[in-house]
Symmetry: C2
Subunit: 527 residues, 2 copies
């Protein structure tokens, strides 16, 4: 139904900002503001002035004399309730986009909403095939909604997750700028696989396609970039080069792993926040940055509308995605409180293993995998450490065994006389449920030590790219990384944070496939 | 040379911030601040207090009684001059990283620098193989420096370009946040090639490698994602979905084109700034956002230290990269002034063609390609329009011929009765030298019209992905895009801006391979 007297070319418009002094104001060229300004709590004083809103019908209830429509536009969790005449409500159903001009009035105390919109005119802005519309008011599983990544973000909670991502990006940008970090764009297509962190994706082009049957010779000329290239698994090595140029750098970049992993914490494509600091030689100062950064984010979240809505969503009956709300509002608040706790414990790996053994032997705790120095920490161990020693908040574990970590990590500052083996100057940040959130280390900055470590690393690994074995150390693909040590090297270190995993933790969602709009995992790459 | 009395574990430290009240202060645990705080103009009052700086030797001049070292750390274009004893200068050469403790003192008027550092202790932080160090004080071509992407960012001007990128990203983040745009992360690995904008890169994995000899059947199971996937050539389609969820969205994402293009304005991997606005049906409001955004950036740049240094770099004899400074300081200032000019001309395509024809016929201008309605605007035309009608600043050209543009662009609001053919509601932003900087349009939001356009588009194009011809319209890969119209579609539009090209324009550099740290183009993907 289109109200003839209102045309899109000269819409009747007014914004909340204009309300106080200008009764019934008409301000033609300004677009309708987001509903967030109208439905915010406490609401601005609705003076009954004429306003214009754009949004989608979340639900509509038609009675004899009136119709009630819930309008949402993704800017707020709460809908705006509109009171319509039966004629105005004609043709309206869930999912339809509308423009409504009306009087914004306060509701009497006791009503669910503080204000509502008494429609003067309703315009349908686009058609909706209501019969086939896959998003229904009834409960739909998150698994089903994942088949509709292009539509599910219209659900109030999914819109909220989009806004959370945006808010966290903006806050990180401000945080790092205030600390003289330079934000950079390291490359996505690269020549190396960093730390052998996982399977890589290969990049080819029909404009210079590799001939898989021809492993050398002509193949080189058929590659778009002369030789095979991959999607980056980490920007760390490139950031090390940039840190030597401008001191402190960071990036928030897409990262790729072709592992056949189907856990709720892994994706094939994800965003990594990575930072690298020159003139830094101890893990403590790296952990300080991580702790300050996450506390800054938590403070911002707690005091923001987004934070309030994340709590509100867990007690709202209009939130359909029940699986998103497994964590109660109190539990989520406790998570944020854990981030804000005055000081996060920092514990050496050897101590962590000892504590885990104690837990088994004295407290009768049971783990699927026994805690052993050479086996590393498994998810159960990490969860236990965060729960027990972090008081439900984060715990840093430092100085892991050398043989479990990447080649570029130097020996720990204080080598303990442990028979188990040498440790390296690194740390992981563990949180309950999500487990490893951040990993970082000092980087070996001495040329000879780095070359030794690279050689040893290749020997330790059975699988070496392209079957080149030890020669890979001499491979030109990492020669540039060695150059960074040859020429004016300085002590430096950095860390990487799984950004989507952080959003998982901050939002209390249980599966990473919900916090990423178009998630990719083995066998699935919709849209 | 390492001063024995200074150890890294308890360094003598002081920061400029501590200077005023605390003579000779020693504040152990704080890191040395960036040199920018010390060499900034006007400099803070150097009171002769002890400070600690970290940096690299840019040059060192050794005399009998004294040595002078220029120290840089990438935070500032100007070096800090340090006065050393011959003993302190022992072992120092270009490229070496040092920590210097010393007294920061004002220089007498007339000296080149306002202040200098009288060293008390010098510590070498890492070795440098000076003999083989490829970055030399003498002039080196940009072409040569491109072979050293991991080292060239240490040059003062290249560091400045890194800081420019960081500053512009931060400012964009603030700009869009202040206008209620939600920053998003659309996917990098996608199923479609958007508008057929260029050749795509294909993504494969040895964990599920395609067998090119087997075009169907078993192939499907061998793909990591079930069927072939590509690197994104534009996030627009995905942003359209998100705009319908939260109103206004933007992203700054890596984008890929496998074209065999070798121009100074094209790369195989580049960053695109894309925005999409729901509830928007005219190109003017889209152009308003573009104009406001770029003016905001220009204002920020002009008033920033980065802006001042971009001008300063053009008259500084310590800037080696001569080719970077082709544009004079006055020319660069004129560019920024052009961006800040009160109103940018908006000109219809038909008018632009008429003006170009006039230029040929009346003013005797000569173009390699004649201006004809059906041929589009070539770089020479775009440059002429920007120079002539934009007064050296930007010009919007709107309403291009339908047959030259992508399928999703709807007819122009006012179809002129031109015999030449129909036009669409779109715009390009043209600037001198760099030519097309932004492209945008309203998007066809009516299902039936979109389907018609998709069919027509496929017919017009000889080359259709996978040889599927017309059937590609029905291809499931774009079914989700059609869904956006079926279900609650609204008028919307958006734009895309080549981010690296913008940095090219703002910095006055002539080749895009200099503003991107690790540039990728056909045959080249170093590091």
């Amino acid at each position: 139904m289109v109200e003839e007297r209102i045309t899109r070319s000269s819409p009747l418009r007014s914004t909340l900002a204009d309300l106080p002094g200008l009764p019934g104001c008409i301000t033609p060229p300004r677009p309708a503001p987001p509903l967030a300004y109208i439905t915010s709590t406490p609401p601005p004083e609705p003076t009954g002035n004429t306003i214009s809103v754009n949004g989608f019908i979340r639900s509509v209830r038609k009675q004899k004399k009136h119709a009630f429509a819930s309008i949402g536009d993704g800017s707020t969790l709460s809908p705006l309730q509109a009171l319509l005449s039966p004629e105005q409500a004609e043709g309206l159903s869930t999912g339809i986009a509308v423009n409504i001009q009306g009087r914004h009035v306060a509701c009497p105390p006791g009503k669910e909403q503080a204000s509502e919109l008494h429609a003067l005119a309703v315009e349908i802005l686009g058609d909706n095939d209501a019969t086939n519309y896959p998003i229904q008011k009834k409960y739909q599983t998150t698994e089903f909604l994942r088949t509709l990544p292009h539509l599910r973000t219209r659900l109030p909670f999914n819109s909220l997750l989009l806004r959370l991502r945006s808010q966290v990006i903006a806050q990180l940008t401000t945080f790092f700028a205030s600390r003289d970090f330079v934000q950079t764009h390291p490359p996505i297509i690269t020549s190396n696989d960093c730390e052998g962190a996982g399977e890589v994706f290969t990049v080819t082009s029909s404009a210079g396609q590799a001939a898989p049957s021809d492993p050398d010779g002509e193949e080189a000329q058929q590659h778009f970039f002369r030789n095979p290239k991959y999607l980056t698994v980490s920007s760390q090595l490139h950031l090390e080069a940039l840190a030597q140029s401008v001191g402190k750098v960071w990036t928030l970049s897409p990262t790729f792993r072709a592992d056949r992993s189907h856990t709720p914490r892994h994706l094939s494509e994800f965003y990594m926040l990575e930072a690298e600091l020159a003139f830094t030689s101890d893990v403590d100062s790296l952990m300080d940055v991580v702790e300050d950064m996450l506390k800054d984010l938590a403070r911002g979240l707690v005091s923001s509308r987004t934070g309030k809505e994340l709590l509100q969503a867990r007690s709202s009956d209009w939130i359909q995605n029940e699986e998103l709300g497994v964590l109660s509002a109190a539990d989520l608040q406790a998570r944020w409180d854990g981030l804000l706790a005055s000081e996060w414990p920092r514990m050496k790996y050897t101590i962590a293993i000892a504590k885990l053994k104690e837990a088994v032997e004295i407290d009768g705790a049971s783990f699927d995998v026994a805690p052993i120095f050479s086996s590393g920490l498994h998810a159960q161990h990490e969860h236990y450490l965060a729960k027990t020693f972090g008081n439900g908040g984060p715990v840093f574990v430092t100085d892991y065994p050398q043989e479990l970590k990447a080649f570029y990590m130097p020996p720990s500052a204080e080598q303990e006389a442990v028979a188990d083996g040498p440790t390296v100057a690194c740390f992981d940040l563990l949180v309950p449920d999500v487990c490893e959130l951040v990993g970082g280390s000092v980087r070996e900055h001495r040329t000879s030590e780095l070359l030794k470590a690279m050689e040893k690393h290749e020997q330790l690994n059975d699988v070496v790219r392209d079957g080149k074995g030890k020669d890979a150390v001499e491979d030109a693909s990492l020669q540039w990384y060695v150059d960074l040590r040859r020429y004016g090297s300085v002590p430096h270190g950095g860390f990487g944070l799984g950004f989507d995993r952080l959003l998982l933790y901050l939002s209390g969602v249980t599966n990473i496939r919900e916090v990423v709009t178009f998630p990719r995992w083995p066998g699935r790459c919709d849209c």
